[in-house]
């Protein structure tokens, strides 16, 4: 129950953040989408032992965070809650690869390094996705998808799903609340009530879908989802994307921390 309401707050929070008007928010959604995808691709293209090469990429989320004036805490919390799957899989690495590697005087097994590498990558990729939605919002993102020629049916359906998640989650929360009030000692839903509980929810959902469709038709819906036209792509939008592309490629090609590090250690010597 708490789980549902928390998920709902998280969605609403990202939704609220997307309504701000900063430099990042005003960028064309398509370019932001492209930048994000490029970033993700570069991050995951690093090999599994790579750590230092990944570090410069932190500049991207940090810049977007501060330029878009997004709050750190709620988004970082999300990242910490990162899918247990990653940790579950990654944590096994130290057991399977115990070769020793010496790092600045310390000895670490390579498994830990790969685990660390996975963690950094997951931090970067998760942040990038959250930043995209928190600075763009679902509607504008859907507009970008339409520009990419994603079929209308899919986009329309995506938007409706998104919108009705809030409504249905609240309904589910209320039903579970009623359930727990009459079954105070249970943790989940007992199997004798599985079918009827979920089944009634579905049937109500079906009827609701019908009414929504009717409401749409009553307001002249003929299958084309009008969102009031797309924004033009400005030179600045392209420059934003191109700039980051340059940086990502550079970070991929050169191990920047190594360059800086040997510069410094070299100077000291």
């Amino acid at each position: 129950m708490a789980n549902i309401m928390n998920s709902l707050y998280n969605m609403r929070l990202l939704d609220d953040l997307a309504r701000q008007e900063t430099i990042i928010h005003k960028l064309h959604p398509l370019m932001k989408l492209l930048t994000t995808v490029s970033f993700l691709t570069v991050v995951v293209s690093f090999g599994r032992y790579e750590i230092s090469g990944l570090l410069p990429l932190f500049v991207y989320p940090v810049m977007v965070f501060s330029l878009a004036e997004l709050p750190l805490k709620p988004i970082l919390l999300r990242i910490l809650l990162v899918s247990p799957f990653i940790i579950g899989i990654g944590i096994l690495n130290p057991f399977f690869d115990q070769q020793i590697y010496r790092l600045g005087g310390m000895e670490i097994s390579r498994g830990w390094l790969t685990f660390l590498s996975i963690l950094i990558k997951s931090g970067l990729t998760v942040t990038a996705a959250l930043l995209l939605i928190a600075s763009t919002g679902m509607d504008r993102l859907a507009g970008a998808l339409r520009m990419l020629k994603i079929p209308r049916i899919f986009v329309l359906q995506l938007l409706l799903t998104y919108r009705y998640i809030s409504v249905l989650m609240e309904e589910v929360a209320r039903t579970l609340r009623a359930y727990s009030l009459r079954a105070p000692n249970q943790k989940g839903v007992h199997r004798s009530a599985w079918g009827s509980l979920a089944g009634q929810l579905i049937l109500r959902t079906f009827d609701r879908a019908q009414r929504i469709y009717e409401a749409m038709c009553l307001r002249g819906f003929t299958g084309e989802y009008e969102t009031g036209g797309f924004k033009e792509i400005r030179v600045w939008d392209i420059a934003y994307w191109a700039g980051w592309m340059l940086f990502f490629v550079a970070a991929r090609l050169y191990n920047i921390p190594m360059v800086i590090g040997s510069l410094i250690t070299g100077v000291i010597r």
């Binding site: 609403r12 939704d15 309504r19 919002g137 679902m138 509607d139 938007l159 409706l160 998104y162 919108r163 009705y164 809030s166 409504v167 609240e170 609701r208 009414r211 929504i212 009717e214 409401a215 749409m216 038709c217 009553l218 307001r219 002249g220 819906f221 003929t222 084309e224 009008e226 969102t227 009031g228 036209g229």
Partner: protein, 252 residues
């Protein structure tokens, strides 16, 4: 303006499970009338509204708007003239912001974006929620949601406004606001409600429905005080007329 006339001729409707919800209703509503439709739970009010709107098609009889029969073919044209507010605003608000929701109708009629904006802002102002235009509909309170649902219909400039229980779940002040708003709407209004006091104040004419049939159709001030009729149809004389604490006129 006879083309705004709305006529039901011997309507019948059965749901797919053979439940006959509407059993032969006939009436004619002229332009500018405000008509209240009342009846017990399950009497067939919502079903009737859906037949009028062409959401459902009658199994017998027909609905005419002006001189046009409502059929699948004439539907798009007719719907531009009729606006319907559903009982549950959650069924009606499906865009991410109130603005987009209110703009949905006008945009579907391919108006240019300038005209859309004018209409949207005007409609929002009418219902007094201009300040909510960038909010997400699902975060609004019940009353605000209903106001938004009404605005989304007003922005289409309908000739006929059809509303299913517009004041349910509103607090008394918001109820008054909606009533004022409806009074200021000068075209035809068709309103169903269990709030008989509202019907009494707002509608000149009332149609009483009982088990899918019309039990009475006439001047509101005569019908709603007819205690026997009300009782037979699962209703009551409006609260404002019961048991006055000042003059102590007897209940019923």
């Amino acid at each position: 303006m006879s083309h705004h006339k709305l006529e039901a001729k011997d309507l019948h409707y059965s749901y797919p499970d053979d439940h006959e919800a509407v059993k032969g209703m006939s009436f004619c509503i002229h332009h500018g009338e405000s008509v209240g439709i009342i009846g017990a739970n399950g009497a067939g009010k919502s079903t009737l509204l859906m037949l009028l709107m062409g959401v459902l098609f009658p199994s017998q009889g027909e609905v005419c708007v002006g001189d046009v029969h409502v059929t699948k073919k004439t539907l798009p044209m007719i719907r531009q003239r009729l606006g319907m507010v559903f009982q549950d605003p959650d069924d009606q608000l499906f865009m991410s912001t109130v603005y987009d929701d209110v703009a949905f109708g006008p945009r579907n009629y391919k108006l240019d974006e300038k005209e859309v904006e004018t209409r949207v802002l005007h409609a929002l102002e009418l219902v007094g929620i201009l300040h909510l235009k960038d909010r997400a509909p699902f975060k609004l309170s019940g009353g605000e949601k209903r106001a938004a649902a009404i605005a989304s219909v007003l922005s289409m400039h309908p000739d006929v406004l059809v509303m299913d229980e517009p004041t349910a779940a509103l607090d008394p002040k918001s109820r008054r606001r909606v009533m004022k708003l409806l009074t200021s709407f000068k075209h035809t209004k068709i309103i169903t409600s269990h709030d008989l006091d509202m019907i009494y104040e707002m509608c000149d004419r009332t149609i009483v429905i009982k088990n899918g049939e019309i039990a009475a159709d006439g001047v509101t001030s005569e019908i709603l005080v007819n205690a026997q009729l009300m009782d037979e149809c699962g209703l009551e004389v409006p609260l404002a007329m019961q048991n006055c604490p000042v003059c102590g006129s007897a209940k019923e």
